[in-house]
Symmetry: C2
C-alpha cells in the first residue's frame, strides 16, 4: 500500500455493531498478495435495501448484475472483490459475476438473485475466478454477527491509503438505532449518482421506498459533491441495507423519525465522501469550494465543479500559490450565467476580488498563510443575487497523482 | 524559458513574407526580463480582418476591447503583450488596454479603434503600463514591410518552450498568394472558439464576410480540436488579416478560389494548433484521438474530448501503460449515446476491444511498442453505425505539468 495520505484521519473510527449483519473478509490473492481482498456481508431475513449505481454508459458486469438484484428487491447478501473491476469483460465477465453470486448464495442458503456483487480495480481484464472461489469457506452463518469493521473496510481498498468508515448512533422514537458504513475510493473520482464503492448498514426498520428515497437524496448531498480527478468510475455503487432489527417501522420520510434518520444518514455519508477526497490520489490539501449567488443550485454545482476540476486551480493550490486568477478562469469557462461585474472571490475568508478586479488594499499575505495549511476554502459569489448554492469537496493535483497513475496497472 | 518540448519541430519553419505587413518585436521588461515581450503588426490600407474570441464568460480587457475593434471593421494594426493577461483588472485594466491602442495608433497615424490589443500571461494583476509605453519607438512605418517572423513568434510566448509559425504559398486564379501565421499556447488550453493567441496574415484579397466565415470554419477544425488540460483561457484570440496586396477579390467561399484558399487556411491553422499541443505543458507524447460511429459530429467531439481530457488516460500514456480500460471509462462518462456491445477500441491501429470485451488473442506487445513512441493514436468506434466523427489532438499528463503550474506565478 502507498504511504498514508497526510490528510488521513488520525485513527480508524469506532464503529457501532449493526444487529442482523455478519461481515467476513477473505484473502483470494487474485491480484493483491498478502492482504484481504474479498468482503462478504450477510444480512438477516427482512432486510430492506436501497442502491444507487454509476450513470456511466459503460458499466461493469457487477453493476449490470446488481441492478437486477436491486430490481428483485429481496437481497440478503453482497460480495465485494478488490483488484480487478470486471469491466469491459463481455459475456465471460458477466458469467463470472453470476458465479460469484451463486457461490456466495450457496454459503448461506440463499439464491443468487439475493446477492449484490461489486468489484473494483483494473478495467478490461478477466477475473481469475478460481482464486476467488477457492478463498470462500464451506459455509457462513449470518447469525454469528461477526463484524470486524477495520478488516471489512480494508478488504475493499485498491489505491486507497487508508480504510474508511463512519458510524452514528441515534434515538428514533425512544429506541436506539445505529448506522455504520464503509467506503473506498481514491482515483477515478467524480461520482455521478454514487461513488466508487460504499456500503452502509443500519439496524433501523425503514420501509423500502423511503430507504431508496433517502439514499438518493443523501448521495446527491455527499458522494455527488466530491471530485478528485473528474473521471467517473464504471463501477460506482452505493448500497444501503436496513436489517430491521431495531426501532419501529419508518415509512414516511417527512415524519420526525424519517427526518432524524435522514439527517444522520446524510451526515454519515458526507463523512465517508470527505474521507474519499482526503485519500484522493496524491492529495496534500483538502479543498472546499462554495459557490453562491447563482441562478440555481444546479448552476452553482456546475461552476463549483469547474473550479474543483480545473488542473490549473489544483496545481496552483498544490504549489501554495494564491493564483486566484485561475479561479476566475474556471468560473468563466463553466458556461453558466454570471454577473462578472459583481463577481466576488475569497480564499480563506479573505475577499480578494470584487466586481471584475482585485479589491483595494488586498493583502495577499493573509491568503498565503491560509493556503499553506492543509484545508483550503474557496468561496465564489457569481453576483446574480440569486439563491443558487453548491459545495464541492476536492483535493489538489500533485506529483503523487502522476506517480500513482502512470504506474498503476503495470 | 523552460527546456524545449521533446515534441517540438526540428527547426523554426521558413515563413513567406506577406505583402502589406510590418512586424516589430520590442522589449518592455514588464514581467519577463531580457527577452522581447511586445509585438506590433501594422497592415496596409484596405486590409480586411476576421476575428474569433474566447467564449469565456470572464473575458479579459483586451478581448472586450478587441471585440469593439472588430465590430468597427477598419483595423489596421495590433499590439500583443506577453507576461500579464490583463484579465480581472476592472476599469483600470480596460483603461490600460485603451492606452495601448492609443499609443500604437499614434505611432502609425491611425485611430485607437483601428488597433486590436491582446495580452497573455498571469490573471488578476494590473499591468505596468509605463514599461510597455516606454518600449515603443517614436514612430513606425507600415510600408517598410519588415518581417522577422522568429522574433515576432517569440515575443508573444509565455510558458511555451518554442516559437510557433506556419506558412503556405498557393496559386489562386493564376496568381501567387501566401498565408503566414504565428501562435502561442502551452497551458490553459481547451480553446472554445479560438485558441490562446494566433495571428494569421495573408496578402490575398478576400471579402470581409467570406474571410470571417473561413476563419470561423477553420477554427472549428483546428484550434477547437485541441486540448492540453481542459482549461479555457480568458484571453483566447485568433485574428486573420488579408492585406489585399495580391490576387483578385475572392468573395464567394464556394468558388474554386474560395475553396482553394480555405483548404490552405485550414491546413495552416491545423499545423499551428498541433504545434500548441506539441508544446503542451510537460508534454512528452502527442496523442490523436479519433471517434467514429457516433450519433453526430458533435457527439463524437464530446466523446473524443472526454478521452483527451481524462487525467487517467493521459497519465497512463505518460507511463507508457496500454491501460485501455481507462479509454472505455472516459467513453462511458461522456454522457453520449453509444452501443456498448459494438464498441471498438484500437491503439496504434491494433484492435484491442470489440463488443464489450477484449478481442480473442489480443497481443499487447504491439500496442506496447506503439505507446512507447512519441505519437500515440487512439481510435474508438462507438458502435452506433452512424457517421458522427471527430478528431481531437492532445498530449500526455506528466510531472512537468505539475512543476510548471505549481510554480508558474511565483
Amino acid at each position: 500500500m502507498l504511504k498514508t495520505s497526510p490528510l488521513a484521519p488520525e485513527h480508524f473510527p469506532e464503529v457501532h455493531q449493526v444487529a442482523g449483519l455478519s461481515l467476513t473478509a477473505l484473502r483470494s490473492e487474485e491480484r493483491y498478495k498478502g492482504r484481504n481482498d474479498v468482503l462478504i456481508a450477510l444480512m438477516a431475513e427482512g432486510t430492506r435495501s436501497a442502491a444507487v449505481f454509476t450513470q456511466s454508459l459503460a458499466p461493469g458486469a457487477p453493476v449490470i448484475w446488481s441492478r437486477k438484484v436491486y430490481a428483485q428487491n429481496k437481497a440478503r447478501a453482497m460480495i465485494v472483490t478488490a483488484g480487478n473491476a470486471n469491466v469491459c469483460t463481455g459475456k465471460k465477465g458477466l458469467a463470472n459475476t453470476q458465479v460469484m453470486a451463486q457461490a456466495t448464495a450457496s454459503l448461506a442458503g440463499l439464491t443468487p438473485e439475493q446477492v449484490f456483487v461489486s468489484s473494483t480495480g483494473v478495467i478490461g481484464e478477466q477475473l481469475n475466478i478460481e482464486c476467488i472461489l477457492n478463498s470462500l469457506p464451506e459455509q457462513l452463518n449470518a447469525d454469528n454477527e461477526q463484524q470486524d469493521w477495520f478488516a471489512a473496510a480494508s478488504a475493499i481498498l485498491t489505491t486507497d491509503t487508508y480504510a474508511k468508515a463512519a458510524s452514528i448512533s441515534l434515538e428514533l422514537a425512544g429506541e436506539t438505532v445505529v448506522i455504520s458504513g464503509i467506503a473506498k475510493g481514491s482515483g477515478m473520482i467524480e461520482p455521478n449518482m454514487a461513488t466508487m464503492l460504499s456500503y452502509i448498514f443500519t439496524d433501523a426498520t425503514i420501509e423500502t421506498q423511503a430507504l431508496q428515497h433517502m439514499l438518493k437524496s443523501a448521495v446527491d448531498k455527499s458522494f455527488n459533491c466530491i471530485t478528485v480527478d473528474s473521471d467517473t468510475s464504471t463501477s460506482d455503487t452505493c448500497l444501503l441495507f436496513a436489517t430491521g432489527q431495531a426501532g419501529k417501522l419508518v415509512s414516511d420520510i417527512q415524519s420526525t423519525e424519517g427526518r432524524v434518520f435522514y439527517a444522520a444518514l446524510e451526515a454519515l455519508m458526507t463523512d465517508l465522501a470527505q474521507q474519499v477526497v482526503r485519500d484522493g490520489e496524491g492529495a496534500q490539501k483538502f479543498i472546499t469550494v462554495k459557490v453562491s449567488g447563482a441562478d440555481s443550485d444546479q448552476s452553482a454545482n456546475i461552476i463549483a465543479k469547474s473550479i474543483a476540476n480545473s488542473p490549473l486551480v489544483k496545481t496552483a493550490i498544490a504549489g501554495e500559490d494564491a493564483n486566484w486568477g485561475r479561479i476566475v478562469m474556471a468560473v468563466g469557462k463553466a458556461g453558466q450565467e454570471i454577473n462578472f461585474e459583481a463577481l466576488r472571490v475569497s480564499i480563506g475568508d479573505v475577499l480578494i476580488a470584487e466586481g471584475d478586479g482585485p479589491v483595494e488594499g488586498y493583502d495577499e499575505s493573509l491568503v498565503q498563510a491560509h493556503i499553506e495549511g492543509q484545508e483550503v476554502n474557496i468561496d465564489v459569489d457569481v453576483g446574480l443575487g440569486k439563491a443558487g448554492f453548491a459545495t464541492i469537496w476536492t483535493c489538489d493535483l500533485t506529483h503523487g497523482y502522476i506517480d500513482i497513475n502512470a504506474d498503476y496497472r503495470s
